[in-house]
Amino acid sequence: MKILLMGHPNVGKSGLFNRLTGAKITESNYPGTTVDYTQGHMKLKGKDVEVVDVPGTFSLKPKDKAEEVAVKMFKESKGSVTVCVLDASKVERGLYLTLEIIEKGYPVIVALNMWDIAKDKEIDINVRKLEAILGVPVVPTVAISGEGIKEMVSRIDETSPVKIEKVIKRSGGTESKNPTIDERWDIIDRISNKVIEYGKYEHTLKDAIAELTVKPYTGIPVAIAVLYGFWAFFGAFAGFFTDGFFVKLFDVHWLPWLQDNFPGEGGWVYYILVGDPAADNCFEAFGMLTSGLFVAIGVVLPAIIAFYLFLIILEDSGYLPRLAVLIDTLLHKIGLHGFAIVPLILSLGCNVPAVTATRTLETKKQRFMMMVLLSVFIPCGAQLGIMIEVIPDYVGFIMFYLFLGFFVWGYILNKIIPGKSPEILLDVPPYQRPMLRNVGRKLWLRTKSFFTVAIPFVLLGVVIVNLLYLGGVLDWLANIFEPVLMGWFGVPKETVGPLIAAFLRKDLAVAQLSAIEMTTYQLITAVVLVSLYFPCVATFAMIIKEGKESGWKGVVRIFFGSMIVLIVIVFLWGGLLHLLWILLGVG
C-alpha cells in the first residue's frame, strides 16, 4: 500500500509528511519548496506503509518541471490512497484538484490543513456536510502543531474510490462524468455554497504589510534594504566568529603547536598534513590539518551558518515570492522570470540545491540558462566567506562584475538559445511568523550536510594539490598554461594550483590564491576566474543529473551545451577584466 500526499504548492504537505513519517524534510513558506518527491514510511494498524510527499501542483495539467514530477508520480501510483491536502482558508480552489483526483478513480481522503488560519479568518466549514457530498473522509488538520493528524491516520482505511457522478448529483447538478473546466467550477461553487460560510473579513496589519512589500514604490526600497541587510548580516556574523575567534585559535595556538610537535619536518607526510614549516598563518601553511581545517571550520562554517540563518527567515516568512514579483521586470528582460530569484539566492549558499530548484521554471530553455548562469556567475556561500576574509576591500567589485556578467550573458543566451520564456505566474502566500523549531531544524540540517559533504572535499582538495606539487605536476602544468594564464588573463602561472583545487572546492581555491604573490588587480582577476571557471564537482554532477531526466540525449546536450557556454564565458568575461586593467594602466 502506498499513500500519496497531493495538493497545491505551499499548503503544508511536507509538514504533514514529517508528522506522518517522522522525517525531517524542508518546510518553507513559498510555493516550490519541494521539487522532487520524498518517500518515507509509517505504521498503519501495525503494517508498514509507504508515504510519498509529492511536489505541489495546481492541477493535473503540469505547468513546470516540479508539477511534471508530481503528475508523473501520481499517474505511476495508480489506485494509491491519495491524501488531498487543502489550505482550509482556500478550500474552493483546492477542491479543483480534489475533483480531478476523484475523477481519476483514486481513493481520496481530504486534509483541511492550516485549519487554525481558516478559523482566524472566521471561515466556517461544515466538515460533515463536505464529507457527505464528496463521499470521502474529510479531516481538519494543523500540520505544524499536529492537530488532527491522529484522526486523519485512523481514517485512511475508510477511503475507497468515489464515482464523480455521485458527487455531482449530491452537489445538486447534472454535469457529465467528464466535466469541462467551467463545469468543474460550477460543481465547486455549489459545494462551497452549501458548506462554507465566510465571516466578515477584516484587513489586518499583516495584509497591509503584505501589500506594501509588493507595491513597487514601497516594495523596491524594502527589497533593497532586505538584501543589503542580508549582506551586512552575513559579513558581520561571519567576521565576528572568524576574526574574533577562529583566526586566533588557528594562527596563535593550533599552527605553532602543530609545527612544534608534528614529527618528520621536511618529510612529505609533514608537508601534506602541516604544510610550510615557516608559515605564520593558516592561509599560507597549506597543510591538510592547518589550512584545510581552518578554511572549513574557521571561515566557511560561520559563513554558512550566517547565510542560512538569514535565508531561512526569508524562506519561512514568505518574503521570497514577493521579491520574485519585484525583480521579475528585470529578470524577464533576460528570458527568465522573477521566480528565478529563488534558485539565485539558494545558489549564494550552495550551487547544488540551486540547480535542483531550477525545476520551478517552466521551460527547458529557462532551466538550462539558469543552471549555467548560476554555476558560472554565482559564488557560493563558502567562497563568499573566504573572499570576505582574505580580500574584504574587493568583494564588492567582484560581486558587481559577476552579477553584471549574469545579466549580460543572460541577455546573450536568451537571444541565441531556442525555446520559450513564459512569464511569471506565481501564487504569493501570506506572511507567517517563522517558527523557532523549524528555523533551528533547517539550520541544523543544512549545516550538517555542509559538514558531511564539504569538509571531506576541502581536506581532500588540500591533499591532492599538495601531492601534485610534490610530484612536480603543478610546475609542469603551470608552465604549460603560462601563455594562457599570463597572456590572456594576466595572472601568474602559480594560479594553476588553485584552479585545480577549484574543481573540488572554490573556497579552498580562493584561500590558496591569497597566499600567492601577485598584484591586487591580478588577485581580483584570479578570484573572478575561480568563480567563473568550471563549477565545483558537486554542482556539475547535479547538472548532469538534471539532464538525465530527459534520457542520455539530455545528458549529452546539457554536458556539451554547458561546457561550450562555460568555456566561451570564461575566456571572454575573464579576458575582458584583463583588458580593463590594461586600459586602466594597471594590468
Binding site: 501542483t57 482556500k90 473546466i181 467551467d182 501589500e211 507595491k215 521579475d328 505566474l425 506565481l426 501564487d427
Partner: protein, 78 residues
C-alpha cells in the same frame, strides 16, 4: 453603476472587477489557481516597466506577467 470591460492588465491598482473571459490555453493553465470566469478580482499592485501585476482573488494573491494578464478580460466596477 457603470461597468467597463477591459483587459486585467489595464486595471488600476485598487480597482475591482469580475472576470468575463479568459483566452484559450490560459484558461486551463490558471484554472487550478482559482482564476476563472465569474470570479471577482482586485488589482493589488502593478510593477513599472511592463512588469508583472498582482491580483487578489478569493483572498489569494497571485502574480501574473503582463502578457498573461492581457488575455484576461474583466468588467470593472465604477
Amino acid at each position: 453603476m457603470i461597468a467597463l470591460r477591459r483587459k486585467a492588465s489595464k486595471m488600476k491598482p485598487g480597482e475591482r472587477g469580475v472576470v468575463i473571459s479568459i483566452e484559450g490555453d490560459l484558461k486551463e493553465r490558471i484554472a487550478g489557481m482559482g482564476i476563472r470566469v465569474g470570479k471577482a478580482l482586485e488589482m493589488s499592485a502593478k510593477q513599472p516597466a511592463k512588469g508583472p501585476i498582482v491580483v487578489l482573488i478569493d483572498s489569494s494573491s497571485i502574480s501574473l506577467g503582463r502578457e498573461i494578464a492581457d488575455k484576461i478580460v474583466v468588467e470593472v466596477e465604477k
